[in-house]
């Protein structure tokens, strides 16, 4: 619905859907397989994954809000330029904030903070959702997608740090005799872990579909 003039305010159920879509049904990483560059690159430890997830969540919510606020004023010829301008602004802000909060985190994320600008999830949500929906719903969509991205990074980061270093958030889990599976900290480990999670999701969706078919058959 590109024009919401005179439409009734969105119902709470609709809002909830905007929020939940990103978390699960339309999860940006596990379902849409978007933003795989940061997903693979920064998930070698839980703390990096958490920092990247939070930074992206912040940018996504803020840019969705601002894009939605100016959506009726933006001529369509310059809309992408305007969106990128808005996204780049919030990435710069997040860059300053991380530097102010912790230099260690800033160094660990390094150039990947600036690369949030080109994370296709953010531009994707601006173009596909925020430019067509009111501010409130766009913020909810940003929150949902952002938290969905956060969950995905956290899932990958946990598996990789637990297997690859034998630690969780830096705390050793298995005692001194554990031989870390270093492969999981290296780039190939990122691909393996993402593949495992995608498999889990595909299997879960497949099972759900079969169950639906079965109930429908029984009902008939």
């Amino acid at each position: 619905m590109p024009h919401d003039h005179g439409q009734p305010a969105p119902s709470p159920a609709e809002n909830m859907e905007a929020f939940l879509d990103g978390l699960w049904k339309q999860n940006p990483v596990f379902v849409q397989v978007l933003g795989t560059c940061p997903t693979l690159a920064i998930t070698n430890s839980v703390s990096n994954a958490v920092a990247m997830g939070l930074a992206t969540l912040f940018v996504l919510v803020c840019s969705n809000a601002l894009v939605s606020a100016v959506r009726k004023l933006v001529p369509k010829q310059v809309r992408i330029a305007t969106y990128i301008l808005i996204i780049a602004t919030f990435v710069t802000i997040v860059d300053y904030l991380i530097k102010a909060i912790s230099v260690a985190v800033y160094k660990a994320l390094g150039p990947f903070i600036a690369l949030i600008v080109v994370n296709c999830i953010i531009l994707g949500r601006a173009e596909a959702y925020a430019s067509k929906n009111p501010v409130g719903k766009s913020i909810l969509d940003g929150l949902g997608m952002g938290i969905g991205f956060f969950i995905a990074l956290f899932s990958l980061g946990s598996v990789r740090e637990i297997l690859g270093a034998g630690t969780f958030l830096g705390f050793p889990l298995f005692g001194p005799n554990y031989q870390p599976w270093v492969l999981f900290l290296l780039p190939p480990g990122g691909f393996f872990t993402l593949a495992i999670w995608l498999m889990v999701f595909a299997a879960w969706k497949d099972r759900k579909k079969r169950r639906e078919v079965k109930t429908m058959a029984e009902a008939a």
């Binding site: 690159a41 601002l66 100016v70 004023l73 933006v74 001529p75 010829q77 310059v78 330029a81 305007t82 301008l85 808005i86 780049a88 602004t89 919030f90 710069t92 802000i93 300053y96 904030l97 530097k99 102010a100 909060i101 912790s102 230099v103 390094g110 150039p111 990947f112 600036a114 780039p187």
Partner: protein, 223 residues
């Protein structure tokens, strides 16, 4: 021909576009400036802490640190903004271990900022650490942690020539062709970043080392 057939945007459209982009840019600019001003103080404090830690890491055994700034071609005690700064590190007995000097150079993407340790006794660079870079992940950013590359700076010769500058300026050579103690062996696949490191050290040693040597007695006494 085909251009004439295309729907031409009316003049008011351009004005509208410019106005919109202008106001969005203004809002964005204000947001960034606001954040910049708000975070200036905590960032400065963080940087100070990190600098202290780095000096300790580059000069093992350091107990006390003193800061000097390069002002009008002369070393003055205390840190001053926007001028090259150097840190002297002393051990528990108060003897000078070495100095740590800040330097920067344009890399492949944006400026690379780094610090290196110089030992006046060995007349050599004894350590190097990158403080800030935006080089390509997986390629250029290897200069921060590639062990073979960092081995170059365990004892990189900068022995003074007759004019006080290093007799042989630091130079980056192609990977695997390092022959002399003043050469830096580049990382293959990160040649531009490796060369930037060589350049920043050559430039900085040429200006800073003569000054350090001239003021060595003063620095040793800690004033």
């Amino acid at each position: 021909m085909s251009a004439a057939n295309l729907p031409q945007p009316a003049a008011s459209d351009s004005v509208r576009m410019i106005r919109l982009m202008g106001s969005v840019s203004l809002i964005c600019g204000l947001l960034i400036v606001g954040t910049h001003i708000g975070t200036m103080e905590p960032i400065r404090r963080n940087q100070e802490f990190i600098t202290k830690e780095t000096v300790s890491a580059l000069l093992p055994g350091v107990d006390k640190q003193a800061v000097y700034s390069l002002v009008n071609g002369d070393l003055q005690p205390g840190a001053q903004p926007n001028v090259p700064v150097l840190y002297a590190g002393f051990d528990k007995q108060g003897a000078l271990i070495g100095v740590v000097i800040e330097t920067s150079e344009r890399g492949y993407a944006d400026t690379i900022k780094a610090m290196y340790a110089y030992s006046p006794d060995l007349q050599a660079i004894t350590g190097f650490q990158v403080m800030e870079l935006k080089e390509t992940p997986g390629l250029g950013d290897k200069i921060t942690k590639d062990p073979a590359f960092l081995d170059n700076f365990k004892k990189l010769d900068v022995t003074a020539g007759p004019d006080g500058k290093p007799a042989h300026p630091v130079v980056t050579v192609k990977h695997g062709t390092k022959k002399n103690p003043w050469e830096v062996d580049a990382i293959s696949g990160a040649t531009i970043s490796s060369r930037a490191v060589g350049r920043m050290l050559a430039k900085s040693t040429a200006t800073m080392l003569p000054l350090v040597r001239k003021n060595l007695d003063r620095i040793r006494k800690g004033n």
